[in-house]
Symmetry: C2
């Protein structure tokens, strides 16, 4: 919540009211990773193998295998492109193609280095959808997340008040007030395990921004560009890309791409095989010679990969996630002397693991 705009004083005060219920002494000292490790099995959500995309790169210089596992975006987000990607994987489109672009602090991109035309002549499925720009966002529906706000307050002041994991906290003398606003949109949070942005429908009483109420609901929702997120390369608008050309974020979250490019998933294992690739020296980080490109051996849906481990993510509506997010925003482990009292949405990466 930004303070100005869609959530006013009432949420803030609701948050303050809960300051009287701090975490127990034992919980206070847990680092974020320890909270995740202690999360009960019930707080983890299985990821269906059919929702995974497994990319095997050529072995590295030492002969070590390089597998990248991507979790595809759940409905209602980007499903037109996700559907295309399933068809592309089924058609073995990426097999034998390569990683062609590595731009420092930005993206790694893969697909057909020779461009779309040749790709089309090659093995591009003929039934790919042309997805419209409007699908960069989805309509909010009440089932998207539970009606549960989590506001992160100052040290020892975790508050959990009822649908988005963003909030505000006032300090006693206002010298350390926090408003965990987002620089890119009115509000941010998590839905179905993914970080999202939200916009709100104008209401007549917004002539005075402070009149916004706690029960305001989002209008449009969309996934946001955090580290490791996977998106769809495209040319100029209104072209939105097919999904044949993909990239992942390897630097500081390029949030200006939100709602300008489709996000279709995130890397959940093997990110280091992409982030540590040599940077390209051409324009935009493209490799200047074919020899620099990393060959893609195959890309398959997880359901087609024998022996693939089972993966699960920490439910973003679980109490464990709320505590983890709070601990990310208020570092209390022994190393820290100055907990921030807030955290950027992209600094609360959703925990994903091999199922135990």
């Amino acid at each position: 919540m930004t303070g100005f705009g869609h959530v006013g004083k009432s949420l803030l005060l609701a948050g303050l009211a809960l300051l009287a219920a701090p975490l127990s002494a034992e919980e206070k000292v847990l680092a974020p990773a320890e909270i995740v490790a202690a999360a009960p099995k019930a707080d983890w959500v299985a990821i269906a193998p059919s929702d995974l995309l497994v990319m095997d790169l050529a072995p590295d210089a030492q002969g070590k295998s390089r597998r990248v596992v991507i979790q595809l975006m759940p409905a209602p987000f980007s499903q037109g492109w996700v559907s295309n990607i399933r068809k592309l994987a089924a058609a073995r489109f990426w097999d034998g193609l390569s990683i062609n672009r590595v731009q420092d602090n930005y993206v790694v991109q893969w697909g057909d280095a020779d461009g779309d035309d040749k790709a089309k002549a090659r093995k591009l499925p003929t039934d790919l959808a042309e997805v419209p720009q409007k699908d960069y966002t989805a309509k909010f529906t009440p089932d998207l997340f539970r009606q549960r706000y989590t506001s992160w307050g100052k040290r020892d002041a975790i508050v959990s008040v009822g649908p988005m994991t963003v909030g505000s906290a006032l300090s006693a003398d206002h010298s350390e007030d926090r408003s965990f606003a987002d620089a890119y949109t009115v509000n941010v949070g998590f839905a179905r395990g993914f970080p999202i942005g939200m916009s709100y429908k104008p209401r007549s009483n917004y002539a005075d921004p402070r009149s916004a109420r706690d029960d305001d609901r989002p209008d449009q929702v969309w996934p946001v560009h955090c580290y490791g997120m996977v998106g769809v390369g495209r040319d100029m608008p209104p072209n939105t890309g097919t999904g044949a050309e993909l990239y992942t974020v390897i630097g500081h979250a390029p949030r200006h791409l939100d709602r300008n490019i489709a996000l279709v998933g995130r890397v959940i294992e093997g990110m280091e095989h992409l982030s540590s690739l040599p940077r390209g020296t051409g324009n935009l980080g493209f490799y200047e010679t074919a020899a620099e490109r990393t060959p893609i051996v195959s890309v398959r849906l997880g359901s087609e990969v024998p022996g693939l481990p089972a993966y699960e993510y920490l439910s973003t509506e679980s109490g464990s996630f709320a505590r983890y997010a709070d601990a990310r925003a208020n570092r209390r482990d022994a190393f820290f002397i100055q907990p921030a009292g807030g955290a950027d949405i992209c600094n609360i990466p959703v925990p994903v693991r091999r199922a135990k």
Copy 2:
């Protein structure tokens, strides 16, 4: 500005008042890089060679040289550690040491892999200062930046009103209000070419947060952890590190480290030699074997390196920087269909180049 807290409606309205003076049509279409390229020479600030730290790594597997150039932090920030670093470079402390840790989406760290004790017995200068925790921040003084606010508004609504490059914008129906707040502190901006965080002194009238006024001034200021920033490794507090153990950020800005670790500079050239290193497989990304470490050939102050190019940065108080920051917050180049209307402080990297 966060909306709640230290800047209230008055700044917001001051910003709105300027919406009537949009950029010219020609300026509107310039991409951020184009604005930087067009900046007059007068908007660039020379970096003294004595304020550079030049780290030469062992050549890569193809025999290519790897040089990393670091700009040391200007006063009033972190000068105790910076002074130690000058002594360490003069003592050739790092020569023959190595890069020992590469943690994905976090940091690359270098120093003595055998730890402090051996280092001390080795060639650690005996006159290094023990810098106190309080020096993680500096006292604000009016000469730190001009009294000039820059607020970034919505598309075509750049406003430039008077010391920090952060602001708010209201939209006509409040459905797209923006408050470019920071999740980690009350306010952020730029001073002497570096991104900084700020806190404010409590004032008696802060009982009502909306009573804050435009002429409020920061109390404490400190550098923030953006991509490429260089910091000082340390053990548990109150130890603050000497500067012998350094790291740089290679992922999403770990802003929770702000005010918990000293920042002493930023990488201005050769970042790719660090960010593309193989990730360590040990705890915290430390390499598990000595063979994985990248040797450091030498670390010198720039004034000791013959033939070093001259470097300069775009003044963060220049009109060119204000336009560049606005363009980062409101992408108008042809690729973009949805300018964000705001930008994270770490998504406005200060342009640095070899002097022309």
